[in-house]
Amino acid sequence: MIRYGALEILAEKEGDKDTLIIANIGFPSKELHEIYDRKANFYMLGSMGLSSSIGLGLALARPERKVIAIDGDGSVLMNMGSLATIANQHPDNYLLVIIDNGAYGSTGNQITATAGLTDLKKVALGAGVQNVAMVSDESGLKKKLDTMENGVLIVKTKAGNKKVPVIRLCPEDIIKRFMEKSALPFHSR
């Protein structure tokens, strides 16, 4: 399984639900946009490392909504403190899905520390996240997405991107339509 396959499963499981999805910079956003574009997807075009943080803030702001942030191993390594903050806030409506392919996939597949000795499952556990799981195949991912409401789900995949076009939506449109779904009506701008 490569990232694209994992995102197809995630889109299939959550796409038609109310779930608010934050997609990481680069290929994760582009691939999700190609697989299933919807208003409740937020495509993070810049700010590498912050997908998990944006997801946390959103989950805390809207505790009655399910929030999923899709992140990458390289991005989590860049903002590892995020796991400690998530652990200590532990919103029960927030699932962080880390697609761990051991590579900086959007910049030419340079290897990350998880291709070496770093184990993000142990890092998340050490950070204090109570609910941590790791899957490495399609059936495992499907099962976890059906049962796991919160915590950190690490999806081990092979490195590699699908050839997908860039997202044509402008940032203003991405956030405007997302907030129609994510914010209470009186806060929508």
Partner: protein
């Protein structure tokens, strides 16, 4: 308030936050924020999230805004350096408003030499980012913070409140 009455800097900033309608705050500590952080933490109408690093906090605030909250971040000015990319490629890119309350070290009265280089450059960094920096004195602080917040959230921009060493010593 009559002239000569005692004004507590932390209390004044806290009142301004409340009057501005801020309901979500991320904090990264600074010695000057040590009285303000517990005030925020114990307010039942404010969600308070302590972050490990300022850039992380900018992301958390952006998510909170997308969930309909009115967020602010409290930090020391050294944290500005850790936040620049996020302020540009997240807040500015998507017009995400934010109130940034900054304890400004490294200016007049600073005893720690390591604070000086970043302290001197902080106003310039904000200027480069097109983030207006308000430097109120204690008497003006509530009005200024309230006005700056209103403008930022109406226009989808960010506002920085620079509170110098002198501000925290005023009373």
């Amino acid at each position: 308030m009559k002239e000569g009455d005692y004004m507590d800097p932390s209390q004044e900033v806290f009142k301004a936050i409340k009057e501005s309608g801020i309901d979500f705050i991320v904090s990264v500590p600074c010695a000057n924020l040590q009285k303000l952080i517990p005030m925020v933490d114990s307010d039942p109408d404010i969600i308070h999230v302590p972050a490990t690093r300022e850039e992380e906090g900018i992301g958390i605030c952006a998510g909170a805004y997308m969930g309909g909250k009115k967020p602010a971040i409290m930090m020391q000015n050294s944290g500005m350096g850790n936040s620049i990319n996020a302020l540009a490629s997240l807040n500015r890119l998507y017009n995400i408003p934010l109130l940034i309350i900054i304890s400004h070290r490294g200016v007049e009265g600073e005893p720690i030499c390591a604070q000086v280089p970043m302290g001197e450059k902080t106003p310039l960094l904000l200027e480069v980012l097109d983030i207006p920096a308000y430097k109120p004195d204690l008497a003006q602080s509530r009005k200024t913070i309230e006005k700056a917040t209103k403008k930022a959230f109406e226009e989808g921009k960010q506002a920085a409140i620079l509170l110098s060493i002198g501000f925290w010593r005023e009373s």
